[in-house]
């Protein structure tokens, strides 16, 4: 019978399937970080259990880490304690840790792929909802809670209901100034922040398959923002090319075997999806969000939708979101003054993002009064950016290149946006208080963020790009 890619990978990992029970699903790779693991290690201790397959667990410190002076001890006491706890737990349980100071340290969803640990056809989990990022390689990757982190550490398995499947096709070509981030923000704005709940999404169509691996990661990363557990893209030559020669990619004969296997990973032509949606890439403008969930986004030239256009029971929540944002309905966002620009997070902090921004700002300067932070996703990216001289371009533009971590994506370290201030951010969530108490987040692509940095306002990047030609 024909199968979807999700079914193929799922079936290959089912240890046991019994009617009336969730499947016991084998997990190939488990990533952990300092925030959602301490209680799980504690649970193992209470049960007197070891980590069952420590070689399949990889740890890093990212959520809490400072992005300046990482060589010094972490100043904030609770953050330091949590990071120290991770170091202690990893040593005790025999788990490899890429902690602060390690050349592989970085945001968990950035380092997995760049080290070649993330591979097609695998099952990958992490106590973090953006684990969906790894789906870009054609793997089943999803976020789990701490009890499940403990479960995987104890058994290398998870009890899971087989998810429903959805195919989202984006066909055609995107216009100038429109990136992967705009594609995914557009999809979420069309199907809402809950539109994918219960599904695993496979992205397909020419606008997706023509994307680079890094861009594919941006797409899969935000699957969770429509409620989906995960999103994936069938592996192809782009995927293999990316993985070739990476630190932990198979080598020599193993590589050939792996690629042969990976080539069988696609949805059969007549495979059944529970839901299929199709979009046209040409309809997508550079996007920006105006509200407090990622579904509240629009093309940058549009007006914020009217409250009375919302379903009646939703109007109260809608108005509450706009009040928080200090944004009026029916009004444009173009030209709105902003205070901060954050380019980073597991959505957009990779080499291509940094290069794109550097290329755009070379010879330009940030507007007065705007603070710009560029936070690379990993130590390797930071080093590469410096090697390519991007740091000089950023410096000349008044953009600050910092050290890797989650940073202002969730403001668990010192990188917080002050109350009431507007931040154009390349991260993935615009929830109330996400970037700091009462901070206001406008989600956008790296290019749109860079354009806002230069003008100090919400800007249609296409106008600045046009000046070039």
């Amino acid at each position: 019978m024909s199968k979807t890619l999700v079914e193929k990978i799922w079936n290959a990992h089912v240890v046991k399937s019994e009617a009336g029970f969730p499947d016991i699903l084998y997990i190939d790779t488990h990533f952990i970080h300092e925030v959602t693991s301490p209680q799980a290690f504690d649970g193992l201790r209470k049960r007197g259990l070891p980590v069952f397959r420590p070689k399949q667990t990889i740890a890093t410190a990212d959520h809490n880490v400072p992005t300046l002076n990482q060589h010094l001890p972490i100043k904030e006491e609770l953050s330091r304690y949590q990071v120290d706890m991770l170091t202690k737990n990893c040593a005790e349980f025999g788990v490899e840790l890429y902690g602060l100071g390690h050349p592989f340290q970085g945001i968990v969803h950035v380092i997995g792929p760049e080290l070649g640990i993330t591979q097609p056809g695998a099952t990958i989990v992490c106590g973090d909802s953006h684990t969906s990022t790894h789906g870009a390689f054609g793997s089943i990757a999803f976020g789990i809670g701490t009890s499940q982190v403990e479960q995987v550490m104890a058994t290398q398995c998870l009890l899971q209901q087989k998810p429903k499947t959805m195919k989202i096709e984006v066909n055609g070509e995107t216009g100038i100034g429109v990136s992967a981030k705009d594609i995914i923000l557009y999809i979420i704005s069309q199907i809402s922040a809950a539109g994918g709940t219960g599904y695993f999404i496979e992205y397909a169509g020419s606008a997706i398959t023509s994307l680079s691996m890094e861009a594919r990661m941006t797409i899969c990363n935000m699957s969770i923002e429509m409620g989906a557990r995960g999103g994936l893209i069938a592996p192809d030559e782009t995927t293999f090319e990316y993985l070739k020669g990476k630190e932990f990619s198979p080598k020599g004969e193993e590589w050939d075997k792996a690629v042969a296997k990976w080539k069988t990973l696609y949805s059969d032509a007549d495979a059944h999806f529970d839901k299929v949606l199709t979009f046209n890439a040409a309809d997508i403008e550079p996007m920006i969000t105006y509200g407090t969930n990622p579904g509240m986004g629009m093309g940058i030239t549009q007006n914020v939708p009217a409250t009375n256009k919302q379903a009646v029971p939703e109007q109260l929540s809608y108005q509450k979101a706009l009040n928080y944002m200090g944004i009026a309905d029916n009004s444009p966002l173009l030209g709105k003054p902003i205070d901060y620009v954050f380019i980073g997070s597991c959505t957009n902090s990779r080499m291509e993002d940094l290069r794109e921004v550097a290329n755009f700002v070379e010879g330009k300067h940030k507007a007065d009064g705007v603070t710009v932070w560029i936070v690379p996703g990993s130590k390797q990216i930071e080093q590469q950016a410096i090697a390519e001289g991007l740091d000089k371009i950023f410096e000349a533009a008044g953009f600050q290149l910092r050290e890797p971590g989650c940073s202002a994506c969730l403001g668990m370290n010192e990188d917080k946006i002050p109350a009431g201030k507007y931040c154009v951010s390349t991260s993935n969530r615009n929830f109330e208080g996400r970037q700091g108490q009462n901070a206001r987040t406008l989600l956008a692509s790296p290019l749109t963020a860079a354009a806002a940095a230069v003008t100090g306002r919400v800007t249609d990047v296409r106008e600045l790009l046009a000046e070039h030609v």
Partner: protein
Amino acid sequence: MKKFEKLTSAIVPLNIENIDTDQIIPARFLKATTREGFGENLFCDWRYDENRNPKPDFVLNDKTYAGKILVAGKNFGCGSSREHAAWAIQDAGFDAVVSSFFADIFKGNALNNGLLPVQVSDDFLHQLFIEVAKNHENEVEIDLEKQTITILSTGQQETFEINPYKKSCLINGYDDIDFILNQKQLVEEFEQTK
């Protein structure tokens, strides 16, 4: 894990949609390394002002509302996978959350901790908000065995779905790890086939 059978209680209404995990428990409180103590920061930014004085108009600060059932608007618990959200709700004294739609990961996390997510229809949710507005002490009964939720003042009742396996876990107070550990042999055999 704590057992759950039947619960009769007044409700605490939070008529807001898309309540995300950053609202339930903001990231800055995730630095603890134990499961306890998150309750005092539940809905922190809605509950307290800058000086940590309780905001009188927020429902958790209104003493006339009391109960072990939190009732919230559609798409509750969206956002991050932080289980701290479920812990915080439980730590604040709730045993069940009622909404017309739950985000996936939150629902799983709640079930893994013995906090019962009860998904009802939009209409029933609306009725719950109306009844509690009439009288803050109006009680609701949740019967897990029968999978029913009842507004006692009006007798209105709805059945709710729950995975049969998860239901037996809640009723018996055991968890997924116990379940898989009992079948470790199978896991090892599976590894040999890979």
